[in-house]
Structures are given as C-alpha cells and as structure tokens.
Symmetry: C2
Amino acid sequence: MSRSIVIRNALILAQPSAGQPVFGQVEIRYGRIASVAAGEHASDAEEIIDAAGCALLPGLVNTHAHSHSSLTRGSAEGAALDAWLAAIESEQSQLTEEQEYIAALATYAEALLSGTTAILDMCLHPRAAYRAAREIGIRAVIAPYVADSKPFTPTLAETTSLLDLAAAEDDRVRVFVGLHDLESCSDAQIAEGAALARRFATGLHLHCSETEGQVARTRSRTGVTPVARLGALRALGKRTVLAHCVWVDDADRRLLAETGTHVAHCPHANLKLGSGVAPVVDLRRRGVNVALGTDGAKANNRLDPFDVMKFASLVQKGVLRDPAVLPPIEILDMATRCGAAALDIPAGALVPGLAADLILVRLDDFHTQPMLPDNAAANLVHAARGSDVVLTMVAGEILTRSGRLVSERWDSLADDSRRVGLELIAAQSLT
Amino acid sequence: MSRSIVIRNALILAQPSAGQPVFGQVEIRYGRIASVAAGEHASDAEEIIDAAGCALLPGLVNTHAHSHSSLTRGSAEGAALDAWLAAIESEQSQLTEEQEYIAALATYAEALLSGTTAILDMCLHPRAAYRAAREIGIRAVIAPYVADSKPFTPTLAETTSLLDLAAAEDDRVRVFVGLHDLESCSDAQIAEGAALARRFATGLHLHCSETEGQVARTRSRTGVTPVARLGALRALGKRTVLAHCVWVDDADRRLLAETGTHVAHCPHANLKLGSGVAPVVDLRRRGVNVALGTDGAKANNRLDPFDVMKFASLVQKGVLRDPAVLPPIEILDMATRCGAAALDIPAGALVPGLAADLILVRLDDFHTQPMLPDNAAANLVHAARGSDVVLTMVAGEILTRSGRLVSERWDSLADDSRRVGLELIAAQSLT
C-alpha cells in the first residue's frame, strides 16, 4: 500500500450535501485524507492517479446487510416477510462457519466492487464474517444475529467474546451487539444485549417495525409499539441502529428523534417483501438520522448502493407525489455522512483527518454523461450503477480497480462462492 | 455479419413466461432463429459462441423513450410534470437536426449496451432519428413528437413523408404516428393522426393520463377522461400504444382492454416526476397488454431495461403490499413478448422463424450468482443490471460485445455526444 496517493482531475464531491462539486485533487497520506483542493497542484506522492471523467466521493455506507444470504440469491422469491423468514430458516440453520466465511467474502467483494466502503453485517457466524472482513479489507461492523428463539443463532456470550477480540485489534472491523428483533428475542435478551452494548460502548443493531403485522403483534403482547417497547428495554439511543422502521407512528417517530436512534432504510426489501414504504421524508424532517441499507441479497437481490440510492430517491417522490423531496444531494448525504454517523466510523466525507474511504465513479459513459458540477449528484443517484465504480479505497488502501479486486488472493473467490451456493441449494432441495 | 451463428452452453429462457430455462444452444440463420435445443449439438455454423455462465433470452423492448433527452441528463431535476415540461421546452425548441442525430445515436448505443434490441423513440427530428437507427442497427419505431400547440415539433405532413420513406425500405426501422398528448394536440390533430395511422396500417403513440391534473383538466374541458376522449377520437385500438396510464378509472381500464390498446409502463418517470404509481397489476388482470419503457433520460436518468424491470417488479409489490404479484417471469414477459406485441415486431421470443433479437447476460458474477434454471428469472429481474449484458444481437447481427459497440464506426460517439450535450447545456445557461 502506498503511503501517499494523489487523485487528480476528478470532479470532487467532498461533502455531497455541502457545497458544489469542484474539479480538483485529493491527497491521501497514511490512510487518511490529507488535503482536498480545486485545480491541479504539484505533489511528491508515491502514486498519482488520473481520474479524468470520474466523480470522486466518499465511499458509500451500507448500514444493513446479511452476508449469509448472498450465496443463494434468487431462491425464496414472492413471499411476505413472515413466510419468507420461515422459508429461509432451514438454510440458515444448516449454514456452516466455513460457508459463512465464503459468503461474507463474496458479500464484501460485491459491496466493494459496487462502491461500498463500509458495511454492517448481521450474520450467523460472526467470527467467520469478522475474519473475512479483516482479510478483504472492507470497513465492517459485525453484528451477530442473536435470537434466543432460534437455536442456530449465535449467543450474547459469543458476541461478548468477539467484542473482547475486536477491542484488542485494529479498528477497521468492529463489532456491534446484534439482536434480531422483538419477536425472536425475549425481552430479557433485548435488555441484556442493550446492557452489553453499553458496557462495551458499542452499537446495537435490531430489525424494528418492518411490517404492520409485527407492530400489531407487539402491541397485542405488550400494549405498546415495538419502538416504545425497545425504549422501555433501554435499547434506543445514539448507539442504536434500527433496520426498516416502516410502520412507525407519530409517537414512535418522536421517540426515535428524541433518543438519537438511527434508522437503516432498506427500500428494496420493504418493497419486495410487500412490507410497505418507510416514512423517510417525515423521519428526516423530525431530525432522525436515516441511513441506507441493502438488506440481504435474497431481499434485494443485489448489494449495490447505487441501486439503493435510486430506489430511496424515486420511491419517496412517487409515493408522496412530490418530485422535490429528497433531492440527489440529500440521498448522497444519506449514503455517506448519515451512514458513517449511524455506524460511528471516522469517514463519510472527504475532509482532512478523516479516513480515506472513497470511490471513483465514471460519469463519462453513454448512460451517465454529460459530467458537470451541476448535474453530478443527480446522475450519481439516478443514472450511475455499481458497475461504474472504477476504484474503491478503504483507509487509504486501494481494494478494487477497474471492476476487479486488486489482490490476487481473491482471483478464485467468485468460483468458490458459486460452488458453495450450489451446494447449499442442492442440500435444500434434497431435504 | 455471419449468416449462421450458434450460441452454446447458455441458460436459455426462450419464452420467459412459458417453461423452465434449459442449458442448451440456439442457432441463428439469415437473421432469424433457426433452432433452440437443450444440450450441445454439432453444427456447421460459421461462428460458434460459447456462452457459459450466461443467460440467453429475447432482447428487451423499450416501448417509450425520447432520444432528444439523452444529452442533457441530470438537468431539470426535482420538478413535477407540468413544470418539468415547461423547463425543458426551451432546450427542445433549440435542438437542431444534427444534434438530434447524435442524441439518437447515443440513446440507441446506451440502449443496445444495456440489452435493448428494440426501442420506440418519440423524437423531435424524426428523420435524424430514423437515419441514426438504420445506421447503428437497433430495431426501432420512430414516432415523431407531433403537437400543434408547440411550434418546434414536427408536423403530420412530415410524419406522412417519413411513413412513405419507411414503406420503401427495410423493416428494422419503422414509423408510428406520434401525437404528444390530448393537451398539446388539438382534437382535430388527434383525429387526423389516428386516421393517418389507419391509412398506413401502422401504430399510434401518445402520452395519456400521466398525472391526476391532466385527467382533471381533460374532464373539465370535454366532460370525459383522456382515455374516453381518445376513444371518441378513434385513437384507441390494437395499434395504439399509450405511455403511462397512471390515472385510469374503472371505465378507462375496461375500454383499454376492450379495444386492445397497449400500455407503455414507465415506472421511473412516474415516480421521479411525482405522478404516482400505475395500476399495472389490475390492468394486466383485465387483459390489457402492459409493456415497459424507460421514458427519456431526463426522467429516469438511465435507459437501462434491467432497471425498469426491477422498478416495475418491486414498486408494485411494495405499493400493493403483496410480494406475490408480478413474479419475475411475468416481468420478463412484459419486457419481451408484451413489448414486441405493443410495437408489432416479429421478435420477443426465441422461437424458430422469429427475428434473432437476443441478448446474453452474465449470471456468474458476485452480484448475480448462483446461476440455476430455478432462480435465473429472479436474478435477471432483481439482480442483473444493463452492464451484465455481454452480447446484443438484432436480426442476427451482433451489435455489442463485452460492453462495447462492435462497429469501429462508433468509437468516437461517446466523445461526440458528450461534446454536444455540453454545448446544449451551455446554450441554456446563456439564454
């Protein structure tokens, strides 16, 4: 890894929601942004990259994913959430640690190649995912999929041991406490998990209020909404990231805002599973930090943050019948700064001192041109796709270039993950 | 162009809605499908293509586009339809024939590279678009953008002269009568255009009932809905393709079904301009042929038929809160057979005798694997993107390969179209 890199001639969106893009150069030293400047300047950097025709922006942050879903994408289609969770449970329960390792590598490879520099992975074999993330180099938050009603899931004791391990190692891969949701975890487990997160001063990640039925069942069991119930169990706050929040009422929204709880909006899964459309515009208006997520590959079916941005943008405009809501710079802000805030990572903007997590995106192809400061945000959100990412850098390290992982170590990964996926599907068909 | 080509080792979706995909080979002779067979067979074809890792399916059909919109994508964001039409009118009125020629070439290049083999283009300079389509080789329907309230648009007399020209030439590029809509055309012009289409036994293309406001204004002016008004003007029927139909009531839907009128569903534009969500599932249930369209690049912002399929699929599931509606094979059917029916072209399926309009799509990359007959349709619709198209063939002619246009003639097209786009934007900013 070069200790110093300069990227020149790029159209720079240093902080997408603050200020007009400029043509210029960014200097990276020792893994961090050293300078951002308009125009071209002399440099003694070890590597100089000419980024003509490309936008340069902070790496995109995926705040909700499940790596264990990637190897069998395209199966279990057409079902609503409850039936779908039941349909995939057998596969989940049979997944081995080694299979999850390959699944996590493939997930992170897909993510990096599409411009994702940081990902939250709620996974079934957290040690395998942790190892995969460290090896491939993506910035990751590993959130073990804990649920005491599902015997195949990891325990809070395993989470604790992984938290201990992570505390002793570098900070590119971190660990959150993960709790599947209020229906698959007991109230005692939710409270215990929240206490564990507080003890380690780390994050807490849960699914919440994804379907109307879930909300009704929690109301019937506890008398209050899932958001209120999580509040009562001390599971909300500035370190909590809730996936979905499609069905949140006025009081829920106020509580999310007051507690500083983050929301991971996953438009694909909410649409594909027929759950509904999250009140993103209203949540943002109330001050809730709404970040973006792909959810698992079976619910999307592609872990492409550009696709997430386009769906997040257009679906809100269409459903609210207001084309002015969520302009492109706000969507880019959600995908970068808001995502970094939710995962509490030192990135999300190209600002001196922050980690050099960034991407170069071609904007001079037929489907993205013309490239101009005025329309770059619109075309990044509405026209670009993950395949337009020509370089992905995490902490100053170039991990993908021209649509390929840089390290030869991963040359056979696509073949390996395909083979494991076919094995998993064959095992399902036989049982 | 080879007179005979065999494509081997592909996962073939010959007619996406009829029958399971099979691994096999397709033989093309003299521009048409000669045979489709499971397994591998000896062949004396001039060219043999190994398509391992790819799905082979009919080319995708885009039933509503505007090539004049492609060079300035990313401008005029955030406006609702009426304001948006006003905002782009100055640019439209200044577009020259030569600029439209470049815009049409760039549009068709983008379309071909993303897996589109046939496109309906409602354009401002139809002779330029007609020439561009013939030169680049895409199957096209040129529908002049006729509107007597807009002095810069082509006339029905020009449409007639282009219909005469097209009748004398090959049938890969054809001409429909295009009429912008009931508000920008007089009733007399609508009736005259419909009569012209009947006289030439060709199609008729209009925008219809895109926004609630349009419907209210037509009701207020005529006492009936736009669909009913078009019926009264003899503009509905088996040769009519109506773009949008977002706001159609029960009687409208019945009339569309009874008359055999086709609908071009453009989910991106309807969402992005805040128009709403078309009742696609109900229209199909009533027997209306609903095909898919990208609309212009400013309303999308990418002419990617895979993106259209994914939006068409997920938005209906989410808004109807029913994940079982529009399963992937139905979406593929809309993008192929239904599109071919709407445009009345001899393609849309890989069946002996039909034109060899087909595409090869990689399904072995991280974001699309694993490739299996059971999940191919799901991953083509929900996971693949236009950049996964590795070969596009129209009438037996290979037009794109590995993400590039085959003919060297187009090597400078991306640069040319970028230059013209920047000129157009600069001219706007100065006026």
